[in-house]
Symmetry: C2
Subunit: 313 residues, 2 copies
Amino acid sequence: MIPTLKDVQSAVKRIGPYVHRTPVLTSSTIDHRVAATVYFKCENFQRMGAFKMRGATNAILQLSDEERARGVITHSSGNFAAALALAARSLDTHATIVMPSDASPVKKEAVSGYGAKIIECDRTLKSRETVMASERKKSGATFIHPYNDMNVILGNSTAVWEFVREVGNLDVVIAPVGGGGLLAGTALAVNHIDYYTVTIGAEPFGADDAYLSLKTGKIQPSINPKTIADGLRTQLGDKTFPIILQFVSKIIRVEESEIIDAMKFIWERMKIVIEPSSAVAVAALFRNQTEFAKKKIGIILSGGNVNLTSLPF
Amino acid sequence: MIPTLKDVQSAVKRIGPYVHRTPVLTSSTIDHRVAATVYFKCENFQRMGAFKMRGATNAILQLSDEERARGVITHSSGNFAAALALAARSLDTHATIVMPSDASPVKKEAVSGYGAKIIECDRTLKSRETVMASERKKSGATFIHPYNDMNVILGNSTAVWEFVREVGNLDVVIAPVGGGGLLAGTALAVNHIDYYTVTIGAEPFGADDAYLSLKTGKIQPSINPKTIADGLRTQLGDKTFPIILQFVSKIIRVEESEIIDAMKFIWERMKIVIEPSSAVAVAALFRNQTEFAKKKIGIILSGGNVNLTSLPF
């Protein structure tokens, strides 16, 4: 059931021509601060600004010609909406994105800017399901889940594969967790690449359903999540959870103030723009720095899409 | 009088161990926007966040042991203050920085954080000169001008040397111009490396003394400059001007709104933090994009030091 190393490598090869091999950055200021060697995989520099481009691209590339001709559809008001839109355009298919009618205009513009069709729904699960079903019936488009899809997970796993190829084996990899698409992809690839590398998830206290899921051994719902890390408000799925349960050592939870401080620190010291969800992984590093001392740490900076006119600092 | 290619190469070798070889980034969004191939030399990723680190390091490395023992001194309320402070610390000497008493607390903190001694003066030239003279008399420290110093210019020239080594010869290089330390260093190196590369300066309309100096053939004072690009409010010096006059093709002036738009565009699309002075070069590219079409353009992003709590957008 768990994809093999070969599956990861095939995904790397498959999506290679359509995604950026993102740079890895280091910061002596941060190494000094945490007394460790820290590498940052900059998925904020990925096409459309987030790792989601990898999963979306891999999923579309697995469709048959017939399926591609009918297009793809998803529901998302975040990075996956833009990723599927751009991936569809790059791969000569078309995407339909079901978005809540009150989604941010900036995000709607990004999606339609990439040429996707937006269909609005209400903020209820029922409305979304109804709109999705009717649209799929009409177009025959293939539904691609933003994270709970093995091809999406495998696409996401390519980031850490590139990461380790570039910097060598790591003692620890930290990735943020929302729906678990990035964390599951990272953990499964890391497990194949180097059994001794520890994969850790990072999550806000205000949306700690993954922490609770790991603790209870059962997917816990994300009820009324409260965090600035808007990419991490979703809950785990039946594809992501088993992988996380098996391969992730633990989840570190962080406070909102720690997320904002970490985000500001990275902007100021590394001069790169990261979104709050990325900062959650950095905040986890800072919060538990004593356990990371002298280790070789890899942080996956998941994305850099922020609204510059409403920053938290 | 004009340094040779060998001088540039010696500076590259001399400062190598003490500065970052900064990355070069590209953006398909920007290439598409301007219909050209654009490379960005990211001096915002330089140590202390700006190219000034190069000139400061090169100048200190040219001192005798005796001089180094007595320390260095400069006047600056900007990036050069922090650069000289950090370079002095890296090179086992000590820096004294004369700063206006109303300089921003953030900048004072950066300077004292790097271990330099700050001496305050009033915002008049007279006060500054008096304080400088008295301090130099006391300590015997060597004065290093922030830009009007051939060793500083040569240090700055190393950025474009690395740039061309990495991406190959360029049709055009654009750098911002304030006191001219970066533009002079860039132009003289480029002239040696590839005679056919055109060096262009970029300057705000609100501080266009370099444009006027080039036009009149005489250094024009920077009277009451009004621009958000705080690094470009200074005027050319008798070391930087002759080089600029000889080797710079022209200076493109840009409006304040263009600077802010370019800065926001780079933050949003390239996910990197650049300061307004860097954005001036990008704004020049955008403003005159028809003349750059189909060319291979290099932009030097001079620095990334901004106060995140007072952004112009």
